[in-house]
């Protein structure tokens, strides 16, 4: 990890926060894409996005390319291999015919995707016929079986690592529902048997095989002919397979770039309910703002990574300081010094447990009692038997009585009062929408709450009752609310436009793409919807009710605030002062150093350069800007 000076300057307290926000990548996934390259993939087509027919092969390749682009951002430690089968040329470690492992330099066959892989794979179609070639691998009279070979190669690629730490998958993309249609008799039965056995062997090793079939408009892919046995489909699954497979392919192409995290326990905590009764809880971070990827500083000349070395130097003697430094606080004309140990001791106000203090009605938890994202807690019987039972009982009782638990969470660096709010499980569309458990909400102390309302009121010159909306105003507002109603609003329905933009730009720059992608900002209001007559009318009525008929748009010009007036005046003053100096001349004659810092800043401010730094820094900035 490289040190970013801005990070280092942060207060000690932030260390705990960074732990709090710590992100870890999910357990790895190893994926082998097995793409059928038989002639049928090139002849069969289906309508593409822009109405023109596209070959199945094209769709397969673009979907995989898209999946790779998502992979590299979402799960950067996942490893992938791309493998064509039914090819003329062969390239694989077992030297099996009809199978071609696509790869680029500086990469093992099964490895993390690189920009180069994505780039070259993006244009694989151009050179495909020449370099790889398409050819049926299963023909009558020959004992070759390209599907069998492909599975074997994939399995060999996935030999790496254990299934404990990585999920292993084979994704098979084909439009041939009957791969052995050209074979007959005993040979066919034999091939089917050996191929199925090969698939089963792979599955026994913990490798899952998924099928992404392509149908032609006139001919549906029949899973039941062969592949149902291969991937182990039965009954209802078989019937529902085809529609869901189409969806899967769509998902693969349109997946949102979103870094994935494995379910991971952040902390194991002891919840002391009363003296002599403690249960064991695990905490999970379900909601944490995602920051764009971490920065690594590079040398701009060589593009090689840099690391920051920090040293502490005594300002009086210039000596290098070692070890934990003492700290001080100026107080009553002296410096009161503290050792690291003393500061730690001050912060240690409890044993690190979560201590129950009591219960309050949910209405006591105000909207402004919040500081940072909540943490989810779930019981565990692993260490302390009986934890779950007690937790479930409390959980139910809290929901029934509409109460939350107030507890003290004695973290070693930033202990806080927390509200434990019980959440019932919510299932919707067959998925778990809200998991059952409790959410720990970090409460502010009086030191953290500002009484803005009071401060605002006391600034008013004379006391008079504040204006309250009348019944008519409220009714008009209510009518408006019914019109601009977000039915079924769900809290996280927007993707972060800044983050999506960041990923898209990073991808474009990494892959040398020519065009900067446009990202759709989902967070903008629906202006079309707002201008629908009924909505516009409701808004109009509310506006008239509150602001009156004569409310003039022109009157609505933002009045210039005091602060901005001041700012403008200051800027003008700087511009004037700036003209009083001959900067070129001063720079050339080395007289900049004779100016005061205030004078130097006239230049910087006028040129809109940063004003921070010591005098030497300012001078060098001016010189750089003047091109000296």
């Amino acid at each position: 990890m490289d040190l970013d000076p801005e990070d280092v300057f942060k207060d000690d307290e932030d260390d705990e926060d960074s732990e709090f926000f710590q992100l870890r990548d999910s357990t790895k996934e190893f994926v082998v894409y097995l793409i059928d390259a038989s002639p049928k993939m090139f002849t069969a087509t289906c309508p593409g996005a822009d109405g023109e027919n596209e070959t199945h092969f094209h769709i397969a390749v673009t979907s995989v390319a898209q999946a790779l682009k998502t992979h590299i951002i979402n799960n950067t430690y996942n490893e992938v291999a791309i493998c064509f089968f039914n090819t003329k040329e062969k390239r694989n470690s077992q030297d099996l015919s009809g199978v071609f492992v696509f790869d680029v330099a500086e990469r093992e066959h099964l490895d993390r995707p690189t920009a180069r892989l994505i780039k070259e794979f993006g244009c694989v179609e151009e050179s495909f016929a020449k370099e790889i070639g398409s050819q049926y691998g299963i023909v009558s009279g020959s004992w070759e079986n390209s599907l069998y070979n492909a599975l074997w190669v994939a399995q060999a690629l996935l030999r790496k690592g254990s299934t404990k730490t990585a999920e292993k998958r084979i994704l098979l993309l084909t439009n041939e529902d009957d791969p052995f249609r050209n074979i007959s008799g005993i040979a066919k039965a034999d091939m089917i048997r050996t191929t199925l056995q090969r698939a089963k062997d792979a599955q026994d090793l913990g490798i899952s095989i998924e099928l992404l079939p392509f149908s032609r408009p006139d001919e549906e892919f029949k899973v039941s002919i062969f592949y149902a046995d291969l991937i182990g489909l039965e009954g209802d699954d078989l019937i529902e397979y085809m529609p869901s497979a189409g969806q899967k392919l769509e998902d693969m192409k349109n997946q949102l770039r979103k870094r994935m995290f494995a379910k991971r326990i952040v902390k194991r905590i002891k919840f002391v309910i009363t003296n002599g009764l403690s249960i064991d809880l695990h905490t999970y971070a379900l909601i944490r703002p995602t920051a764009p990827g971490a920065i690594t500083w590079l040398d701009s000349v060589t593009n090689r990574p840099l690391k920051a070395e920090r040293s502490f130097i005594c300002a009086d003697t210039g000596a290098l300081m070692q070890g934990p430094l003492k700290r001080y606080q100026p107080y009553k004309n002296e410096d009161v010094k503290f050792s690291e140990e003393e500061l730690r001791e001050i912060k240690r106000v409890s044993t690190g447990h979560l201590r129950l203090l009591g219960f309050k009605p949910l209405s006591c938890l105000k909207d402004y009692h919040n500081l940072k994202p909540s943490t989810f807690v779930f019981p565990s019987d692993k260490e302390v038997i009986g934890s779950t039972c007690a937790f479930v009982a409390l959980h139910r009782a809290m929901i029934r009585n509409q109460r939350f638990a107030l507890a003290f969470y004695g973290l070693s660096t930033n202990p806080r009062l927390v509200a434990l709010v019980a959440q019932e499980e919510i299932i919707s569309d067959g998925g778990q929408f809200e998991p059952p458990g409790m959410h720990m909400i970090f409460l502010p102390y009086s030191d953290d709450i500002r009484d803005i309302e009071q401060a605002r009121t006391s600034q008013l010159t004379t006391k008079r009752p504040a204006h309250r909306a009348t019944e008519d105003h409220i009714q008009k507002a209510a009518a408006l609310m019914k019109r601009i109603y977000l039915k079924d609003f769900s809290v996280c329905q927007f993707s972060n436009p800044a983050l999506q933009r960041h990923y898209a730009v990073l991808q474009a720059l990494a892959l040398d793409e020519d065009e900067m992608p446009e990202i759709h900002d989902e967070t903008l209001p629906d202006e079309e919807g707002m201008s629908r007559p009924a909505v516009a009318k409701a808004i109009q009525e509310f506006r008239t009710s509150v602001y009156g008929e004569d409310y003039d748009e022109a009157d609505d010009k933002p009045r210039e605030s005091e602060a901005s007036k001041k700012r403008k005046a200051a800027a003008e003053c700087v511009a004037q002062e700036y003209k009083n100096y001959d900067w070129e001349e001063l720079a050339d004659s080395g007289k900049l150093k004779d100016l005061t810092v205030v004078e130097l800043k006239y230049y910087l401010a006028a040129q809109k350069l940063p004003l921070a730094g010591k005098k030497e820094v300012l001078i060098s900035r001016i010189l750089t800007h003047l091109g000296k």
Binding site: I72, T76, A115, L205, I273, G276, L286, I287, A294, W297, L298, D299, P305, K307, I313, D316, A319, M321, L325, R327, Y328, Q329, K332, F338, E345, G352, F359, F376, F378, K382, I385, A393, L394, N401, N414, Q432, P435, Y445, S446, D447, R450, I452, E453, A455, T457, K463, P465, H467, R468, H473, K476, A478, F489, V491, C492, F494, P497, L524, A536, Y551
Partner: protein, 684 residues
């Protein structure tokens, strides 16, 4: 920024806590050094104030400290607060305070003037010579309002007022409330010393807007609003680093520490790169892509400043735990009554219909991200204060991790509470009540001080007197925040005992010792090694022992089975080596952990036997033979009796070296293997 503190000295208990807690004055000294503070006491035996001298009356009111800039005396002054003896009249005291502020500061004075009254409001106010008590209050309030004095009352109630005259209390509450109608006044009630400390906010951060502009309902309608921070975490103060390198004789030493950064190439630490030559790199797969700030700026997301309404949603669709940051408050721009009306109308309609507003916010021009958040109504209870909205930031899709958890209904019956247990839990939740009434909300965040900061400022004061002082333990007042209230616990002893006896909770005996120790120390969270173990959801743990193919650890309960399962795993050739190594560790652990006791003895021998069998099967005789020799060598040094017993046990089980006949790879001939355990090595 000046401020007169008026204290009723009869509130002994609370004054004691103020004396013990100098943090109030300490913070005043650190953060508001320009403030001027005076102290007026009432209920004192003596009388000492200017008004008495000038016009008479105003007895039992003592000016302890005239208005002056805060200094060390302030701390001492608070610590010397005398004990009051007579009934005091708070109105007299207020008049003395107002008089001080008016006399000392001319009309042209720009600072803020505050009066803070701390009283239990138990003593009745004297009847005025003319008019009613209400008239008198109105007059004082009017005077305050005209002179721009804000007024805050902290009424101390709780156990102290148990014996008080109820009518007096009601009258005083009524009179004090009158102030908030006529003047800029606030009255709060606290129940205990801890809340008093919380209520007595000393660090006054003057509110600064983070946004002034329009709340866009649509293109056609905009409401002018100002946005402030409602909550912001007050961090532990950042202390400067101290250098003691300067000789003690150097009187001008700054004792400062400079922090220096040097950027070195990772490959070649001798190569130092100047800061300007650095460029930010972003990870893309295994690669790092260098992107200059200029390049980024050209393509970055740059939304327009503004706050736009997206729509209204049902309040129930926005759950409380989705709030991700500190909270802002939206107030209509002061001045235009119509904006105030619009905010008020929306807030009240939202409250009535149980709706919230979803808004998209870009606070500053040039900000590189947007915030989507929720506005909830804040309906004012005070007539002088306008209605407003609270704003909470909501997460984006990217910020939410969809982890699955087992349904409670799928838990085994032993994890489901029975009726008796549920009843005990219900009673606990109802009875261990921290908010029996809306006025009695214990540990309300608004009145709960941060115990760490309190402790720090107290310690700072202590250390300024005694440099070697140790950090004192948390006192009783602050322990009301970190521990349950003993009174509440005593009151609910029956409920708590019932809950405790209803649930049987014990440490899992099957747990590895190391893990147990972690539990006892409660060093929660932890190393990667633990995480691997803990990551599995509970239901997976239940099946793990029966699923042999996935054993990857040799546990305590069935080491032999674990080993056999592990060594026969075929998903990777590495398992054989791993299994053998882990088994060796296990055996060494068993032999070393306690001096060869009976229990471990047989387990260790069983393990050794299994290891021997495994090594023969997997053609790894050397691994076993070397290990056995090591074991014997190591144990030779221990107690001779125990060692010879171990030796005999080995022999009786036939756990000698693996011979060539058993495994072709072995270098040990059969007769040597047979002889190996026959002759007990002599003690050296």
């Amino acid at each position: 920024p000046i401020f007169a503190l008026i204290v009723a000295v009869v509130v002994h208990l609370f004054i004691n806590c103020l004396i013990r807690s100098p943090s109030f004055s300490v913070r005043q000294l650190i953060y508001h050094r320009a403030d001027e503070v005076g102290f007026v006491l009432f209920g004192t035996e003596e009388t000492d104030n200017e008004l008495t001298n000038e016009v008479g009356g105003y007895e039992h009111v003592t000016v302890l400290r005239n208005m002056k800039v805060v200094d060390g005396d302030l701390v001492d002054g608070v610590q010397q607060l005398p004990r009051g003896t007579v009934r005091g009249d708070y109105l007299d005291a207020i008049v003395v305070g107002v008089d001080m502020l008016i006399k000392d500061y001319k009309v042209s004075f720009k600072g803020r003037k505050r009066i803070c009254l701390i009283t239990n409001a138990q003593c009745p106010v004297k009847d005025p010579d003319e008019g009613t008590k209400e008239d008198q209050v109105s007059m004082i309030a009017k005077q305050m309002d005209e002179k721009g004095i804000s007024f805050e009352t902290i009424v101390v109630r709780g156990l102290l007022s148990v014996g008080a005259d109820k009518r007096t209390l009601e009258e005083n509450d009524h009179l004090l409330n009158l102030f908030s109608i006529k003047a800029s006044a606030k009255i709060v009630q606290v129940q205990n010393p801890c809340s008093l400390m919380g209520a007595l906010r000393t660090r006054h951060i003057s509110p600064v807007t983070i946004f002034r502009g329009e709340l866009e309902i649509s293109l056609k309608m905009k409401i002018k609003v100002w946005v402030y921070k409602k909550t912001a975490e007050e961090k532990f103060p950042t202390l400067k680093k101290y250098s003691d390198k300067a000789p003690p004789t150097d009187k001008f030493a700054t004792h400062d520490v400079k922090v220096d950064y040097e950027y070195q190439s990772v490959e070649d630490p001798d190569k130092v790169v100047p800061p300007e030559q650095r460029i930010k790199g972003y990870r893309y797969g295994p690669q790092v892509v260098p992107i200059s700030s200029a390049e980024w700026d050209a393509v970055k997301f740059k939304p327009e400043k503004g706050v736009k309404l997206l729509g209204f949603a049902d309040a129930s669709n926005v759950r409380r735990h989705y709030y991700v940051k500190d909270v802002n408050i939206f107030i209509a721009e002061p001045g235009d009554t119509r904006d105030t009306l619009a905010v008020s109308a929306l807030a009240r309609a939202m409250k009535e219909m149980n709706k919230v507003a979803i808004v998209r916010c870009v606070w500053r021009q040039g900000q590189q991200n947007v915030a989507v958040g929720v506005l909830t109504p804040n309906i004012s209870e005070n007539d002088n204060t306008a209605d407003s909205f609270y704003f909470n930031t909501l997460p984006f899709i990217e910020d939410v991790r969809e982890f699955q958890f087992p349904s409670f209904s799928n838990f085994p019956a032993s994890w489901q509470p029975n009726d008796k247990q549920q009843e005990a839990a219900d009673e606990l939740v109802k009875m261990l009540d921290l908010a029996p009434s809306s006025k009695d909300d214990v540990l309300l965040p608004e009145f709960t001080p941060n115990p760490i900061l309190e402790r720090f400022y107290r310690f700072l004061e202590l250390k300024s007197r005694e440099a070697d002082a140790a950090v004192p333990p948390l006192d009783g007042t602050l322990r009301r925040i970190t521990e349950p209230d003993p009174e509440l616990v005593a009151k609910n002893k029956y409920v708590l005992d019932k809950f405790r006896s209803s649930f049987e909770v014990k440490v899992n005996p099957k747990l590895k010792k190391s893990t147990q120790r972690v539990m006892e120390d409660n060093k929660a969270g932890g190393s990667d090694e633990e995480d691997g173990l803990l990551d599995a959801p509970p239901e997976a743990l239940a099946v793990r022992s029966s699923d042999d193919t996935h054993v990857d650890e040799i546990g305590d309960s069935n080491p032999v089975q674990d080993f056999e399962a592990m060594i026969s795993r075929r998903d990777s050739p590495d398992w054989i080596g791993k299994a053998i190594q882990k088994m060796k560790n296990k055996i060494s652990g068993l032999l070393l952990s306690r001096p060869y006791q009976e229990i471990n003895n047989s387990t260790a021998l069983d393990c050794l036997e299994a290891l021997r069998k495994g090594c023969i099967m997997e053609q790894e005789p050397k691994q076993y033979n070397d290990f056995l020799r090591e074991c014997i060598d190591e144990n030779k040094l221990g107690d001779h009796n125990i060692f010879s017993r171990f030796y005999r046990d080995l022999a009786s089980k036939g756990l000698t070296l693996i011979s060539k006949t058993e495994a072709p790879d072995s270098e040990v001939p059969e007769d040597e293997a047979r002889r190996f355990l026959l002759k007990e090595p002599k003690e050296e």
